[in-house]
Amino acid sequence: MESKSTKALKQILLAGYAFLVSGPLLALFWNLAGAIFEHTISYADLLALFSARKLILLLNSLALAGSVAITGMVLGVIAASALWVKDFRLARILRWLLLATVVLPPYLHVLTWTSLFDRINLFLAAQDMPELPFGGWLGSWWVQSIAFLPIAVLVSQAGFDLVGKELVEAARLQRPDPAVLKKIALPLAAPLVLAAGGLLFLLSLMDYSIPYIFGKNVYALDIFADFSAHNQPGLALLNALPLALIALPVVLLTLGGIRTLAISAQRADRQWAVSPRWPGWLRGTQIIVVLILVIAALAPLVTLIRMSGSPGDLANSLANGSQESLYTLSTALLAGLICLPFALAAAQALANAGRANPFWWLLTLSCLALPPALVGIGQIALWNHPLLQGVYGHTPIVILTDIARFTPLAAVLLASQERRSDPLLRDAARLFQKNPAHGWLRVRLPLLGSGLLAAASIVTVLSAGELAATLIVIPPGQATLTLRIYNFLHYGSPEAVAGLSLFLVLVVLLGSLITLTLFEKRSSLLRIPVKILK
């Protein structure tokens, strides 16, 4: 039994989590209610929500998100089937590369692929061959698909990994491997493959950075643009409602798969003693998709290194962006640290939630599915009060925005670890501890230590690359690295953009590698906190 004080602390932290992640949304609803009551939202404003322009924007956004999701699912399944083999070195390296690049800000891929296509087209022009079309919707579709592909591959692969080894082997004894893939593995992995598609659909629907750079307007950008024009948070919420209404069923459909993935206690057994025999056409397709994956994972780094010019140019770019770099790293780090107790409380609620009680899962995934711009607008609605000026218009609002956006992800990550830890260890600690603090410090903290560090790292890394919400809440006179890069993408020199982007990529990759190492090799790290405490 937990002591009353422990229970109370958990309840407070859980309430804090709910406030931090859903507070902006609640503030928007409050603001909307006030605006309706005070008639500051006119009928014309409401009618504008149903204009032909909005409808076309929405349809364009849905078409883009749908095509990105389908592309991601198809490529993801093919790549996952290629990686779902005997645990050979290339598959392992690729898996790590994908995990490391999964958190790269999507707009950085624009730079990479534009530069790659420019080079290809230069080559084609020199051969008097027609150039490849790249840009507009086509460019947006390709770059978004590539930027989000690691997620599709990793989630689909987790789906394959969760198919029991004996189920596959029983089928292999009776039918050839392609039939095993089609009839057994794919149907059993389908919930996670569909969840991957759902995630990609949501990510594409909420991202405006890539289409905007390619000169295309999407609905998510319109939320931001409308807010900039009217400065009415309630109206922004109304504006975002169609997007939210589309996103919600996708979230619900994705919920089952993600929940299974996060809380599955089963460790994936990837060892195929005898590699599957795929037909030539499938093997060829797998090789092409794996090549695309390798390019997608390595291209950002290689292109940015090439583009950043001489070491002198790179040093200049970094010196010019040093203030923004420092600001970004400090706010991101603070967000990563502050979110931890709240994420941990939520993780326990998530890990213990049965299927009959999906409240915390719904809250967590719904908040992850909010358009980032709306989170930023919600923060303004929440903190723009005369008594809260220390937050509004100052650095704390940037940190709170990062916390609101990424704490749900940290909670899912910690829930996964919580679920995989042996509950008997906790029970044993409760039996033998001198007091709750003694048990927590000597047993719980060492068990959770690596997961907490991993969660902090992932929130820090994602916060460092955050753009859409930060753009709205950034205090006057301040800029994050991502904002500077994004501005430079429009009017800066390529060397400056590449130099700063390279720095950001290295920070992100380093952070992800730390996260992965801590999360994967937690057993050997368990003793470190104990040694420190001793």
Binding site: G164, E166, L167, E169, A170, A171, R172, L173, Q174, R175, P176, D177, A179, K183, I184, P187, L188, A273, V274, R277
Partner: protein, 224 residues
């Protein structure tokens, strides 16, 4: 006929099987007993083509089926296998589970085979149920029916009665005895001596990766 020559398998430097040699004539029924970790399951997996040997060869009906670095695909070996768990595919009904291995049969032929197996494995009326809608004993019977469906030349059974209560075990043992009469060659892995004696003509023992065709030697040494 199964012919195994100098078969060895190592996991992380440890010998799981060490220079196994035997020949089994068609129609023989052999039990292999041994404690956990003695290499019983590894031997079955090597015969089924689910593992690659580190040394030695497996021949089936005179055809090379496994050697280091190469195996004949499992589905081409005419081998049926019942695992320790039923391993029924959860997204398929029992009928679909049983029919999976005979997808090449004509529809009417497959239906006749299905009905035969449902009858011989006491599964009538359950064919449209999913694995999560049947009991543990029914799942074991369904796993046996699935393995028998394509008329395998060899049936491998890996402790198929583990974790069942004594009455259910006795019922299933009798059923296995009846249903496997048509099978040409049976290799039955078990901890239980009674099961082995009831089903098989010969009982071999595996200890630390070594095969003893005369377990009496081990009994004399006090190791059985």
């Amino acid at each position: 006929m199964i012919s195994v020559r100098n078969l060895s398998k190592r996991y992380q430097g440890e010998n799981a099987l060490e220079e196994i040699n035997f020949e089994l004539a068609a129609g023989s029924r052999t039990a292999i007993s041994g404690p956990s970790g003695s290499g019983k399951t590894t031997l079955l997996r090597l015969l089924a083509g689910l593992e690659l040997p580190d040394q030695g060869e497996v021949h089936l009906d005179g055809i090379l089926a496994s050697r280091p670095g190469w195996t004949l695909a499992p589905h081409l070996r005419h081998i049926g296998m019942v695992f320790q768990s039923p391993a029924l595919w959860p997204h398929m009904t029992l009928a679909e589970n049983i029919l999976f291995g005979i997808a090449g049969y004509a529809k009417s032929e497959a239906q006749i085979r299905l009905e035969e197996l449902l009858a011989s494995c006491a599964l009538q009326g359950l064919e449209n149920r999913y694995p999560d809608q049947i009991s543990g004993g029914e799942a074991r019977r369904a796993a046996l029916a699935r393995a028998l469906a394509p008329h395998p030349d060899i049936l491998l059974m890996d402790e198929p009665l583990t974790n069942l209560n004594p009455e259910l075990k006795a019922d299933l043992l009798a059923l296995i005895h009846r249903a496997t009469n048509e099978v040409v060659t049976l290799i039955y892995v078990t901890h239980e001596r009674q099961e082995a004696e009831y089903l098989c003509q010969e009982i071999w023992a595996l200890r630390r990766g070594k095969l003893y065709k005369n377990p009496a030697i081990l009994e004399e040494q006090g190791a059985l």
